[in-house]
Each structure stands twice: as C-alpha cells, then as structure tokens.
Symmetry: C2
Subunit: 183 residues, 2 copies
C-alpha cells in the first residue's frame, strides 16, 4: 500500500463527501447503493470505505457536518441567519430530512445522533440563557420550550424548501421575533 500524504487523504475525503451527498440526495439513504456511491464519487468501494467504516458512518458524517454548519450560522448570525441559510442553500436538505425517518425506529442511532456536536449545542444553550438574562427574549417559558420551537421551525423550513415552496424569509423572521419577545 503506497503511503499517502495527509493533504491527499483530506482531498480524497472531500471527494467522497461531495459524491456521497449527490448520491444520497438523488436516491435517499437506502437507494444509494455502493455501486451508486462509487459512480458519484469516482472512487472504488475500497477507497470509499478506507475513509468511512460503513455507508451509515459516511451518511452520519455528512449529517453531522451539516448540523455543525447550521449551528455555526446560528451562533454567528442568529436565528434570522438560520432562516436565510435554509432559504438560500437547499443542497444539504435531502440528507438532513432523511435523518428523522432513520431515527424513528432505531433508538441506538437516536442516542448517537443526540451526542453529535455537544460543544455547539452547549454554546447555543449558553447563548439563549444569556439572551434571557439580558431580557432580550422572554423568560416566562423554559429554554427547552424555546429551543424545541425553533427546532420545529428549522425542520418545517427544511421540508418546505426541499419541496420547492418559496420561503417567506422576512415574514418568518418577524413572526419568530414576536414569538420570542419578552411578554
């Protein structure tokens, strides 16, 4: 086996990621066979599975990457940024929307999913606790209720964007602002 540089491995890993995203988006998790993954990545199954131990690990690595990017946008630009992010860039939504369906009957996978990106989760919780203590958002509801509500909105926006329904960005921002405003 030839020794490959770290840089080369990183580039190959990105190539697997990009091709796998196309395959999962077009065919869903189950429909994206190893043959289709080979075709979309331009790499052999041996090469693909030297970067990810299984198709599930590859899929979850994509999903975790999407989740981290979403949390980064949220921390940098607030929830309005999240709404704009979903409205502007639909390519990742096919993978995102396959996750809940896969979690439904698999509690082990659900536990694994909930443990993703704990640092980001923690920073978001701190951010919202700070907004509450500053009086910028309501404090008559527990943070968990607000987090749940915003999570529901993200998933709903993802469904509509993936279905080709135009998102009313400014209207949604205004309605969320009112929902969270101090009462």
């Amino acid at each position: 086996v030839p020794k490959v540089s770290e840089e080369h491995r990183e580039e190959r890993r990105r190539q697997v990621f990009a091709g796998a995203r196309r395959a999962f988006a077009r065919h869903g998790y189950e429909g994206a066979t190893v043959t289709l993954l080979e075709r979309e990545t331009g790499l052999s199954r041996g090469a693909i599975f030297s970067y990810f131990p299984s198709k599930l690990d590859l899929f979850l690595a994509l999903a975790e990457d999407d989740q981290r990017r979403l949390a980064t946008v949220w921390l940098d630009d607030g929830f309005a940024g999240v709404i704009r992010h979903i409205a502007a860039d639909p390519d990742w939504l096919a993978v995102y929307l396959d996750v809940p369906r896969m979690l439904r009957n698999d509690s082990e996978l659900r536990t694994r999913w909930e443990a993703f990106n704990p640092d980001m989760q923690h920073r978001l919780e701190e951010r919202f606790a700070g907004l509450q203590s500053l009086g910028a958002i309501r404090d008559d509801l527990p943070l968990a209720a607000i987090g749940h509500f915003l999570g529901v909105l993200i998933d709903g926006l993802a469904v509509q964007q993936a279905a080709g329904v135009p998102i009313d960005v400014e209207g949604t921002i205004e309605l969320v602002r009112s929902a969270l405003a101090p009462q």
Copy 2:
C-alpha cells in the same frame, strides 16, 4: 364480473386504504411494491387497482384524506387542535412526510397537490381573514405570511413527531399565540 353493492365497495376501499397506509409507512412510496400492497391489503392487484387507477393515485388519495382531516381539526379546534392532533396520532405522518420529497422534482404533481381540497383551503383563509378583522390576530402582516408560518410549523412538528421527539404541546401553543398576537 359480479355486481357489488355500493356498501361493499366502500368497505373494500377502506381496506385498501388501511393496508396501503401500512405499506407506505413501512417502506416509503418507492419501496411499497405492488406485491407489498397486496400483502398488506389482503387483496389482489386487480382488486386494488379497480379502486385506484395507479399506485400514485392511491398514495395521493391517502395524502388528500390526511390533508382534509387536518383542515377539519383546524377549523373545529383551531391551531392548538392541529398541534394536539399531530402530537397524538403519528400514524399518518409517514405518508404526509413523503409528499414534499415527491413534489420536489415534479412540478405537475405539485400543481395537482396545490389543487387538493380547495373548499377547505378557502374556509381556512376566510377564518383567518375573520380573525384579522376582529383584531384577534395581527394585521400588520399579510395573511399569506401567517399561513406560510403555520404551514412551516405543521411540517416541523410532523418531522419531529415522526422521528420520535416528544412534542411540547403547551409551549408550542403559547409561542404561536405570541407570534400571531396583535402587535
């Protein structure tokens, strides 16, 4: 061909509906083969397709039925009723959540979908226009923005419920109330 009574036909139609719902929920639209539809309904393909011209028509009839029931709950019990309906009864959500994925790349299907249940859509729009003119909900945003927002919430609740995430019914009702309250 023996002549069958209207009552018998209606009962058979319900049998097809119930079996097809199970098949679509377990295997998705593409995965629910005609053989699986036969197994779940306990009827031959000849019988099934005497009630619905195609698998797509059968699927859309289920989806239209779900949409009509959702609109009925909304008209009878308000949006709080819709939230409770989604939280209480997840069996129909697998079909509901397959629709946006199918609409994504099929503009003909999207047009057909948008023309579903126009009477219910019309009554809901009238209801919300009435709430605006009574001052019960805000009138600084167009009705379309409010309708879009509530549609996003419904889809997001459906995703989370289908994934097995417990829905915070009372928190969601309170946050929606604040979002729509006159400003």
